[in-house]
Amino acid sequence: MNDERPEVRQESRQVERDSQLSAMFDGELASAECELLARRLVRDEALRGQWSRYALIGAALRGERGVKLHDKVAHRVQAALSQEPTYGDASTSDVAANSTRSNSAANASLGDRWMRFARPVVGASVAAGVAAMSILWLRTQGPDVHVLASTPVTESIVLQAEPGDTPTDTLIAQAVPQPEPAPVSNGEPERYSTPAPSSQTSIAPPARFATYVVAHSEYSGPLARRMALLGIVGTEAQADELAEADAAAAAAAPGTVAPGTVPPNTVPANTARGAVDNAP
């Protein structure tokens, strides 16, 4: 049976609120509740009257001789304070709040206008940043070239194979790693070799770069997009040329192709790369 009629609920709430008022008067109410009730007290004259009577009950109980049990002092103080300034002036606060609102509105419109002009610039900056990052990324691949140069890599041996060598010699050469080059005083490797086209991972970053540019095309200007795409096309063309050169070299010396490897120009670049990566 539910006896929670609205008037019952309201009465229950009022009893709870009065109980809180009594506790607040004694300084025994939790801080958060105290804040809420203080807010309520400010706008509820009846509640303030109750607060006043609680004070009066205490004074009456204490039997303070000569103390008149009324709110005359409070009324007079209230009247006198009406002439006094208000701290943290509410009107000033309102004005300040309005001012803040209008300022923020002005700032918002200013921001809109600024964004209208700045958007292409920001887009170009983002595109330039991406381009710079890709260049830096490519440059960080430089040390890999050195590593390849100083490490006995299969491809380097293949490139050094002479037409007169037999496949067996080549295979032996592949099986026997080259001795470590003696460290050079200036840190430079003794010899340089060009990494095989299949190991040229520069094709993959432009692909990712292209995805990135497409995904963020809304932030980049048309010029920046065009430049980025041209860069990708140029890189891919270079990769194709290198692949063709490799194929030609392989055709000139068919016996030098290591067993189990596939000429790079016959398969997609990433497959060729994988084959080399997995090579012993």
Partner: protein, 202 residues
Amino acid sequence: MTTEESDLVLVKRVQRGDKTAFDLLVRKYQHKVVKLVLRYVRNPAEAEDIAQEAFIKAYRALPQFRGDSAFYTWMYRIAINTAKNQLASRDRSPIAYDLDLNDPEESHSVQTKLQDPDTPEGMALTEEIRGIVNSAIEGLPEELKTAIVLRELDGLSYEEIAAAMECPVGTVRSRIFRAREAIDKRLREVFEGGLGRTEEMV
């Protein structure tokens, strides 16, 4: 939360520009302040004037109040200083009436003032309220009466009362509230029956 913290909530509201919160503090402490000032001046009307002045001074100084001490402690000092300054400015003893004691009529008036310096209406009202409160207290169940007396007369905290009455703090809070409600109900009846009009006359 203590009384100090509860008052501090109201003080901070005043500092943020809420004058009504200060009115709540005045309503809460006006009787105590008047009683305090009555140690220095024996005329209740004068004590009320000084109390009023002290509260106005407190309001003006409130922006400097940092809550290092309780609001009432701070108010207490202001009230005492105001009373002392008032006495010093008048350069007289706490009780002095500039009256001609040879005049029988005035002499009778002085005697009346010394015995009961307040107006009859004011005192009647006060006595009436006191009578209502006392009779209401007498009619309360023992546990409610004990709780409200320990709180109002002995000034014990809820926790101390709970320890004294061997019951939970929540029960103490409920008992004090119910006692106040019972007394307040009687007061409201009387105020609505004309006590409020007497107050306005005062």
